[in-house]
Symmetry: C2
Subunit: 429 residues, 2 copies
């Protein structure tokens, strides 16, 4: 059907006209429809048959503007096509961590999928101090599979290039280019600064030419490094969890980009959570901060190290199975191991830089993280933001020198020691 | 009209049916039609009105197979679309160095363009020892303009991504991936070795794991570094010259790739010529080799240095004119200069590696260069090939350490001293 924006009132009619939904719902006369979108880009509804509560779905529809900015910021609703294509690709590569898709409609820019009603958004759960022991295992598997299996390291040249073409995602890439790599790094009108952040704090980022140069390089890498299909927005708000499962959702930013982008954003968000829990644990949750913050840092280390192990294993197995004559000689496997190490080193450098950009943009840019933003004590909040800026800046400017994930942890714990709520000493330039 | 392969017999009918050609030729009854293709990929005809010899064109038609390999090697004739699009883009950016296009026909996979009958292929001219004092100036201008103005450094994000999509050139990229970056580096059946090249000479490349690793990295860079529209095959056989002009032709390999690719291929071919003239000058042209070989090396240095100057100037002017707020603060221009330097260093490293790959693939791979291949003394030829392999290998494995174009020259003159016909001392691994 031609595009129209669905409302709570018109959704039932749409479902009735949709064959797969007629099979899914045993009746349509007692549907509970709740709008649950975070309000940034799309409308998201949870739809449940009150007579039969196991009959429940999520309907997500894109509207032709940036929802959080209003109708004056047009954004093509075709972005939903990228989400649908990415969900399908991810589902194939990592079935246990992607919700089932029941129906999609490109004209209507909508998708109907499993309601993960036994799962919650990771960011909210982490804000409550909950631990997910399998998080690193699940995320690293998702990263290794999706990065490796959509890349030139695995795919044939034609298939990979066709995929690059399909995933030319102009509009949402441009949002990232602006809101992660550009606006937060100068005094752009779209930025927002929390009340107790001082001009000196902001200048700590804005008046350091090394930051400007490094971010321009990272932005260029983002724009040109067509290595693999990246999720494009893999923060803790795009991940749904419970004790046993980890789901990746909302891949509308998916495009062919640098392999370090998804790990970088994920690590950046965990570091923001690490900083936030320097306050949250003692002040809000009334706990010793050590165990939870240690879990966060362990999760960062484990995610990266397990990603490396899994990515390596996939690639090595592929080289052996493919009998590629280029890698078929005495000593080839040892040489290939060096190539993998060099490649992983490059992914790591990118990831470190992207993590730093994420920390800065979530502090100075338009889109904050609730981890920090929710904190009502504005002085304490500004203090956490200072720490985020300090860690973020160091990751950005020193990414070429940082050689291991442990060094990233060392930076985080030097700036914000594990056991205390520290005071950042911010020095500009 | 539907696709058919034109022949000398059917060309006249085709021209008569083509409006622009009816205007171009005052009569069709005395056309001289000569097939002049190099035979690798396409059919190329020079068509001249014998009654009015200024009425002359070149017609180039793609056939649905790799011409040099025969009909058993299918190759989509749609490759001509990439040549047409690239010619149009290049013409807009560098009008003085691209032939006028009179007509193109995507269904017929053909283009009719100016017959550069006062110009000759640079490779043949250099084989004769001719000097083109403006070559470096012209090539560096072409490189700076086409690299800068098709890149993210200049274009808006949407325009650049649209261009990337248009130039997804699967088949011809795959040829490059195979014939430049893969087959020459192991004992592939498509390789061909000149008679006096010994197994030890070949193993000097094939049995060195450092080469294998570095070439895999360069291939990955070729496949993923979507920086700008590259010509894709800028060797001295794709350049037509006379005393005053330099034309770039045959851009059917055009795609979005790393900025270092075109400079690298060009420099690699000049280095092959430099090596060849260690023999050609004394033995074939009966001259002191010093002046000509010095001109070649000067041309390499000048091409790179002038490229850097021109690329820098275009980018700096653009940043100033665009008033990009990201680069609008006290000290911004000095910071941007550092960014440009870092960027150019990266382009240079890539270019050095690609130059090395070109030297090796033109020696061990299927497609030779006449500079060396024409030499009938097979022992002398093998000696030159050894020198090419030695220089090529050093550029490939040491590309990260080579910091300036002068160091490239130093490697070339160390391996093959300027004034003598030297003996290579090839050591494996």
């Amino acid at each position: 059907m031609p595009y129209e924006i669905l409302t709570k009132e018109t959704i039932v009619d749409y479902l009735k006209k949709t064959e797969s939904m007629r099979k899914f719902f045993s009746s349509f006369d007692a549907l509970d429809i709740e709008e649950v979108g975070d309000g940034n880009l799309n409308f998201v509804y949870k739809i449940t048959n009150q007579k039969q509560p196991t009959e429940t779905v999520v309907l997500k529809q894109a509207v032709p503007y940036l929802r959080c900015a209003g109708e004056t910021w047009p954004l093509s609703k075709e972005r939903m096509n990228f989400e649908i294509m990415a969900l399908e690709t991810h589902k194939e590569l990592h079935p246990e961590g992607i919700p089932d898709i029941y129906h999609h409609d490109k004209e209507m820019s909508l998708v109907i999928m499993r309601n993960l009603n036994r799962h919650k958004i990771l960011r909210g759960e982490m804000n409550q101090g909950k631990i997910f022991p399998q998080l690193a295992d699940h995320i690293s598997t998702f990263l290794a599979r999706t990065i490796f299996r959509t890349s030139d390291w695995y795919l044939g040249s034609h298939d990979k290039k066709e995929s690059v073409k399909q995933f030319i995602n102009k509009e949402l890439c441009e949002l990232t280019e602006n809101f992660i790599f550009t606006h937060p790094f100068y005094n752009a009108s779209s930025n927002s600064y929390s009340p107790d952040l001082t001009p000196e704090d902001i200048n700590y980022i804005h008046k350091d030419g090394r930051v400007r140069i490094a971010v321009a390089e990272l932005r260029h890498r983002f724009k040109t490094g067509a290595e693999c299909l990246v999720h494009g927005d893999l923060h803790t708000g795009s991940i749904m969890v419970n004790e046993t499962d980890t789901y990746m959702i909302d891949p509308e930013f998916a495009f062919y980009g640098p392999a370090g982008f998804d790990p970088g954003l994920f690590i950046g968000n965990l570091l923001l959570a690490y900083v936030a829990h320097g306050y949250r644990q003692e002040e809000l949750l009334k706990r010793d901060p050590l165990p939870y913050r240690t879990w966060i840092l362990d999760t960062i280390v484990q995610t990266w190290e397990q990603f490396v192990t899994k990515f390596n294993a996939l690639w090595e197995a592929h080289i052996i199975a493919s009998q590629d004559p280029f890698w078929h000689y005495e000593g080839a496997l040892a040489d290939h191991e060096k190539l993998r190490q060099n490649t992983i080193d490059g992914i790591f450098r990118d990831a470190v830089g992207f993590a730093g950009c994420e920390m800065v943009r979530r502090t100075l840019g338009i889109a904050k993280v609730s981890d920090v933003k929710e904190i009502e004590d504005t002085e304490a909040r500004a203090e956490l933001e200072r720490l985020s800026l300090q860690i973020g800046k160091e990751l950005i400017t020193d990414r070429q020198q940082i050689k291991s994930i442990q060094e990233v942890i060392d930076i985080a714990t030097r700036v914000s020691p594990l056991t205390t709520t520290p005071v950042a000493s911010v020095k500009c330039c």
